[in-house]
């Protein structure tokens, strides 16, 4: 059974979103996603300072099996990327919700956060 923390938001393509106290958001892929992918061997992170729109393909996670795109869950600016993943991509497997975070964004429109799934809705999505 996959771990789906209730304090996070999600999108159906298996990214999680954490709203931080300072108004920024942190994004990674879910435990379910890392399980489906298998051992992660490479992460291509988005460009710092870049402006992205919701649903843009902005990063790539490659596992032993295949490459899969990471989508921007909301519109905004990329304000940080987890460079530690370049040397230790396996962190995405071992710590999907903590050390395995991928990038941080400054949201363009806070209202977009309301479109994200809560943990129950995401669980329903992956159990279909």
């Amino acid at each position: 059974m996959s771990n789906v923390p209730s304090d996070l938001k999600y999108i159906a393509s298996h990214e999680w979103v954490r709203e931080e106290d300072d108004g920024t958001v942190t994004i990674g892929i879910t435990d379910h996603a890392q399980e489906l992918l298998g051992d992660v061997v490479y992460v291509e992170l988005p460009e710092l300072e870049s402006e992205v729109a919701v649903d843009d393909e902005i990063a790539v996670v490659e596992s032993v099996k295949a490459a899969s795109d990471i989508f921007a869950p909301i519109s905004g600016t990329i304000i940080a990327v987890n460079e530690a993943l370049e040397d230790a991509p396996e962190t995405v497997n071992s710590s999907a919700y903590d050390d395995g975070w991928m990038f941080k964004m400054k949201p363009a429109e806070l209202a977009e956060l309301d479109n994200l799934l809560d943990s129950e809705a995401y669980l329903a999505e992956i159990n279909e």
Partner: protein
């Protein structure tokens, strides 16, 4: 629901993640594919390869038949149990399959072909057998397990009977021995030492358990693929198929041109191809930039032309991405790979990246 090998319950007990592989329910991994890979490079791992097809070729003209059927020459096989790698070609010189043939006697050879090509191989072999006094029959009595790694032989021997242990003593590379219903071959698909063992299906589970007790770790299809790619071994359907000649698939060494009067299937086409000049070759690539090589990426060779990758992965041993690619014959020592719209440089190397745990590139 796919076909199940005699080891199926063993996979479930070991926590294998089961996937469909050419109609078979096979383990992809038992947790971490990369750990399984390292186990085979450093210690000993075991792979269920029972899905592969065993074909017995028997009869007075068994040898003559195989000399016609295969690009390599079974006349090289003089001692019982000796093995030979060969392509089985069509009239156009395309590779129908790659296989291993074992010599058992002048009127009995054992052939192991790929699982994914079983039906077309059996059809082709039966068709070509017509003019010969020979019987070609699939053997379904065996389970098959590969035990591979620097400690594979020592550990696998612990799982064998005393008689089997003495039978394998001094067993040469690419040779097999028959003992107490086990057909034990010193062959493999990982670039490490080890065995591929055929055994009665009824003994599959107890033997698996003995191997576990001896400290051999179960490994899945995922690790099998990264290991064979590091070893620079072709995967049928990826790196070559019926549209590709062995000369373009790094299999030139498997063609026995002598004696010149041996009329094997595909010989004429290969001769013509050689005379007019082989246009492409299969090379190894080591990615110099970031990313992962995958099959079917475009290869740009400046001033020469274009090619395509046929296999690719992140090499767990080298911690760099490696791959195989079919490129124009004139390709030099560097190319560019198109990875998601960007050109990334790659070094061209001999397609053998890792052997016996050692990096070669």
């Amino acid at each position: 629901m796919g076909k199940k090998t005699p080891f199926y319950d063993c996979h479930l007990r070991a926590g294998g993640k089961i996937v469909d592989f050419g109609g078979w329910d096979m383990p992809l991994n038992y947790g971490s594919q990369i750990e399984e890979h390292h186990t085979v490079r450093q210690d000993a791992g075991m792979f269920d390869v029972s899905h592969m097809t065993i074909v017995e070729v028997t009869g007075a003209e068994a040898k003559a038949y195989l000399q016609c059927l295969l690009a390599n020459d079974v006349d090289k096989l003089k001692t019982k149990g000796k093995a030979l790698y060969s392509g089985m070609l069509n009239q156009d010189g395309g590779v129908i399959d790659d296989l291993i043939v074992y010599y058992l006697s002048d009127n009995h050879y054992r052939v192991v072909v790929n699982a994914s090509t079983r039906e077309k191989d059996l059809d082709w072999m039966a068709l070509q057998a017509r003019p010969f006094q020979v019987a070609v029959a699939e053997n379904n009595d065996y389970a098959m397990i590969a035990v591979q790694g620097p400690n594979a032989i020592a550990k696998a021997n612990q799982a064998m009977s005393e008689a089997q242990q003495s039978a394998v003593e001094g067993l040469g590379v690419f040779s097999a021995v028959d003992c107490e219903q086990f057909f034990i071959a010193r062959t493999g698909y990982t670039g490490e030492d080890g065995y591929e063992i055929m055994l009665p299906s009824t003994q599959a589970e107890p033997f698996w358990n003995s191997l576990l007790e001896a400290g051999v770790i179960p490994c899945g299809l995922g690790a099998r693929d990264t290991l064979r790619l590091e070893a620079g071994m072709n995967l049928y359907g990826n790196d070559m198929d019926e549209t590709v000649s062995p000369l373009e698939a790094n299999m030139g060494w498997t063609i026995a041109w002598e004696p010149q009067d041996r009329a094997f299937i595909g010989r004429q086409a290969l001769t013509t191809e050689k005379e007019s000049g082989v246009t492409s070759k299969l090379v190894g690539l080591v990615l110099q930039g970031k990313g992962v090589i995958r099959a079917h990426m475009k290869v740009v060779v400046e001033g020469v032309g274009e090619g395509e990758t046929t296999s690719g992965t992140m090499s767990p041993t080298l911690k760099q991405s490696i791959g195989l690619a079919r490129v124009p014959k004139a390709t030099g020592d560097s190319v560019m790979l198109e990875i998601r719209g960007k050109l990334v440089p790659a070094r061209v190397v001999k397609p053998c990246f890792v052997r016996k745990g050692e990096a070669l590139v």
